[in-house]
């Protein structure tokens, strides 16, 4: 394939010739003058020996077999010349070239972004990688045991918080609800996305409290709680800063420091991406959907029940 630079050069030449040839067709009075001019012009500017050659051989041939004046045959000559000087480069070719180029560019961009995401996602797989997430045992809002196995087969979206959180968690949970709706709409409700809220404050956040709390944000959020030790363990697995006081008196009023990131985990339960305060519901759901679509495109298994 010729280099793009060369192609572009040829194309511009083609269009220049086209404009020159277009003029005689519209006005017969200035035809001879323009035609002369045009052929002169071409004779001087023409750089390709192949075309010069063919033009030279063509002009005597015309004169030999024609009884009429050379100029009378103008239009035909003009067309033939054009065909010879521009070669296969017509506006159709130009359009095809531009469209192909644009198509390739779009394709390469998309593919590059996909590979970059894949590289990021696979960074947390394999041996010797920093590990976010891991085995844990908690219980869900019905009191049933819930482990990391229950997260597998779906993209999970894990958030740590506590119900007595003053302002950040409620904001983030509202965002989570929006993200859930957006992902749900785009995946046609395939149930391959599982939003999870893990409390850092198990003493106050019992299943009953969590259920009431999460209901206000989105009914689809899976709430998890456990004993102090279990919660401490899961925070450690997810590298979440955990500062819950151990022995709090009933009724005591306290706050818990905790990290404020969402963790996107793939169906193998490997960490994929962090969604933080700076993300909008739009940007976050875009990132999530990109990962889900990559996973689907690669034909990897997903649980949709």
């Amino acid at each position: 394939m010729p280099s793009p630079m060369r192609m572009a050069g040829l194309l511009s030449r083609a269009t220049r010739n086209m404009t020159i040839e277009a003029a005689p067709a519209s006005s017969t009075r200035i035809v001879p003058f323009l035609r002369n001019n045009a052929s002169q012009c071409r004779a001087y500017t023409q750089q390709r020996p192949r075309c010069q050659q063919s033009m030279r051989s063509m002009i005597p041939a015309q004169n030999d077999f024609s009884t009429s004046a050379f100029r009378a045959k103008g239009p035909t000559m003009g067309q033939m010349r054009q065909r010879h000087t521009t070669g296969p480069f017509s506006w159709k070719a130009a359009l095809l070239f531009v469209l192909t180029g644009a198509g390739m560019m779009v394709y390469f961009r998309v593919e590059k972004a996909r590979l970059e995401r894949k590289r990021m996602a696979e960074m947390s797989k394999g041996v010797g990688r920093p590990k976010v997430g891991g085995p844990f045992v908690l219980k869900d809002l019905d009191g049933k045991e819930f482990t990391e196995e229950d997260l597998k087969g779906k993209y999970s979206f894990v958030y740590f918080g506590f119900t007595h959180c003053p302002d950040i968690c409620p904001d983030e949970l509202d965002k989570m609800a929006e993200i859930i709706e957006k992902v749900k709409a785009s995946t046609k409700d395939e149930k391959l996305f599982m939003p999870v809220f893990i409390t850092c404050d198990p003493v106050r956040d019992t299943p009953e409290v969590l259920r009431e709390y999460l209901k206000e944000f989105h009914p689809g959020i899976v709430g998890l709680t456990g004993t102090y030790e279990q919660v401490k363990n899961v925070c450690k697995q997810y590298r979440v800063y955990f500062s819950t006081p151990k022995d709090v008196k009933p009724g005591e009023d306290y706050l818990v420091d905790h990290s404020i990131y969402f963790y996107l985990m793939d169906p193998d339960n490997d960490f994929v991406e962090c969604i933080g305060r700076q993300d909008t519901p739009e940007s976050a759901s875009k990132v999530i959907l990109e990962h889900i679509n990559d996973w689907k495109r690669e034909g990897k298994p997903l649980k949709t029940v």
Binding site: T163, H164, P166, D167, V203, D205, E208, V209, L210, Y213
Partner: protein, 116 residues
Amino acid sequence: MGWLPWSSGDSKNAASDGGRIAPDRTSRARCWEGRDLFFACLDKNDILDGIKEDKKARQKCAKEVEEFEAACSQSWVKYFKEKRVMEHNRDKTIERIQKEDAAKVKELKSQGWGSK
């Protein structure tokens, strides 16, 4: 001390399984509204730290502080007051750095850097 303004004791806030019921959306909104009114009053009276200048704040914004503390639990009141100071300092620092940067750029430009 009531956990929430409309509940005098702990009994109402305790869930049946031993947990503690958290403020819901309405009470959060009420608390934030109380906070905003109180902070607006502090701004008006040029008070930054509601904890250090507690006395002055209570004097100038008696009504607001009362409403704020009634609408939020104690830990939230403390958290919001501290956050106000922290955010103020943060904004000041950012502003200072931006000013320093701008001055530096100006200085370098006057010395002929980056004229191209």
